[in-house]
């Protein structure tokens, strides 16, 4: 890959997987401004790591690994990140219709609430489960065994069912 193709390829990969960036950021950041910063931080780190992308994995696996790693680390930075220089004033992801998020149906809202309440690592597993990733792929992204993935998903699903049945 030559130096002019690299940014082009990177941007097309990001554009194709923009939904992942939003879903991860939305699950780990409730505040809109923080979410914008988090998406930017994820894109920065993806770009930094792009050269080392290992093509034995899918792009989505690589994006999930970095996005989740950044998101889990990002919340701990808290207010300090606001003091860091922010070269881009606008967000990388925007909505054509700004009411999309606020008008989502009640069940989606409940599901998002449930995800938001999970612990950081369980949250990552839940996101990957909802994306219908195989146990093998989830195990590769999280770094645990497939058996452990199955156990964790089983437990999270029980909690999820309780949440939906208790409303």
């Amino acid at each position: 890959m030559n130096s002019t193709d690299k940014p082009k390829l990177f941007l097309s990969v990001i554009e194709l997987n923009k939904g992942i960036l939003f879903k991860v950021a939305n699950s780990y950041c409730k505040d809109g401004e923080d979410r914008k910063d988090l998406v930017q931080e994820i894109v920065v780190q993806l770009w930094k790591s792009f050269e080392r992308f290992n093509d034995q994995y899918k792009y989505s696996t690589w994006i999930y690994r970095i996005a989740l790693n950044v998101a889990i680390s990002f919340y701990r930075k808290e207010k300090r990140r606001k003091q860091l220089s922010n070269p881009l004033s606008d967000g990388i992801l925007n909505f054509a219709d700004t009411n999309v998020i606020s008008e989502t149906d009640e069940n989606i809202w409940l599901l998002q609430q449930f995800i938001a309440e999970l612990k950081e690592l369980d949250k990552a597993i839940m996101l990957l489960y909802l994306e219908e990733k195989s146990h093998k792929e989830i195990a590769e992204i999280i770094g645990i065994s497939e058996t452990n993935v199955a156990t964790k998903i089983g437990r999270i699903k029980i909690l999820l069912k309780q949440k939906f049945s208790s409303r």
Binding site: S73, I92, L93, A124, I144
Partner: protein, 229 residues
């Protein structure tokens, strides 16, 4: 709600996002042009500075001890030696943190990366423990033999009480500054503020990581024992 219903619900959300989410190519493109810092590189300069500054300090005190060894009061020598020993241990921890910073790779699986990040932050508690352990030597370095002969009981009572109080506080803090005490009032009082809150949260994540690893070992005992051997 059944599994398929939940997955379909998520798919409908995904579809809505795909239809409405706009990618600002211009802003993303700008990122590819600016010089960006890697994940933890902002932490490196300060840690390197602290290590270098501390090395100069311990080198200076080492030379000082060596040169005044025959004439200095034993109280000063012992106090300085304890201070230097603990400072060298703290430098060792800073060096360990620098190694961890170089090792962290966010391309790696989540549990491995987060564990390194959390250990990096939690070793900061060890530095605090060592620094607090030095407390009593700051009350003894100025003692001398003249005091031993000329001071009355009252003077010794005050000086000794201060040193004993500092020693007690130092030892108590050394053994009690730990994750398990994060919810205690005194801990929150000592470790509060922008710099410390992420540390406390990191420690909370550490318990999740440990739990994941323990379950991994329990569910795959043969595989993991082979890997370890």
């Amino acid at each position: 709600m059944e599994d398929t219903e939940i997955i379909n619900l998520w798919k409908s959300y995904d579809k809505k996002l795909e239809e409405n989410l706009l990618f600002n190519k211009k802003n993303a493109e700008d990122i590819t042009k600016i010089k960006v810092q890697s994940f933890l590189s902002s932490m490196k300069p300060m840690k390197i500075f602290i290590v270098l500054f501390s090395l100069v300090w311990v080198g200076f005190v080492d030379i000082l001890i060596f040169n005044i060894f025959d004439v200095a009061s034993p109280f000063l020598l012992v106090s300085a030696a304890i201070h230097i020993l603990l400072t060298k241990l703290a430098i060792g921890i800073y060096l360990y943190q620098l190694i961890l910073i170089y090792q962290v790779d966010i391309n790696e699986p989540i549990v491995a990366t987060q564990e390194k990040l959390v250990r990096l932050r939690s070793t900061t508690l060890w530095i605090s423990r060592l620094l607090f352990l030095q407390l009593p030597v700051w009350t003894t370095f100025w003692w001398n033999e003249v005091m031993l002969h000329e001071w009355n009981v009252f003077q010794w009572l005050i000086t000794g009480s201060v040193t004993l109080a500092f020693a007690f506080a130092a030892i108590w803090l050394f053994f009690n500054i730990k994750y398990e005490n994060r919810d205690k009032k005194w801990f929150r009082l000592l470790f509060t503020g922008i710099e410390w809150n992420p540390l406390v949260k990191s420690m909370e994540l550490l318990s999740q990581i440990d739990e994941y690893k323990i379950e991994n070992d329990l569910l795959n005992p043969v595989k993991n024992s082979t890997k370890r051997s």
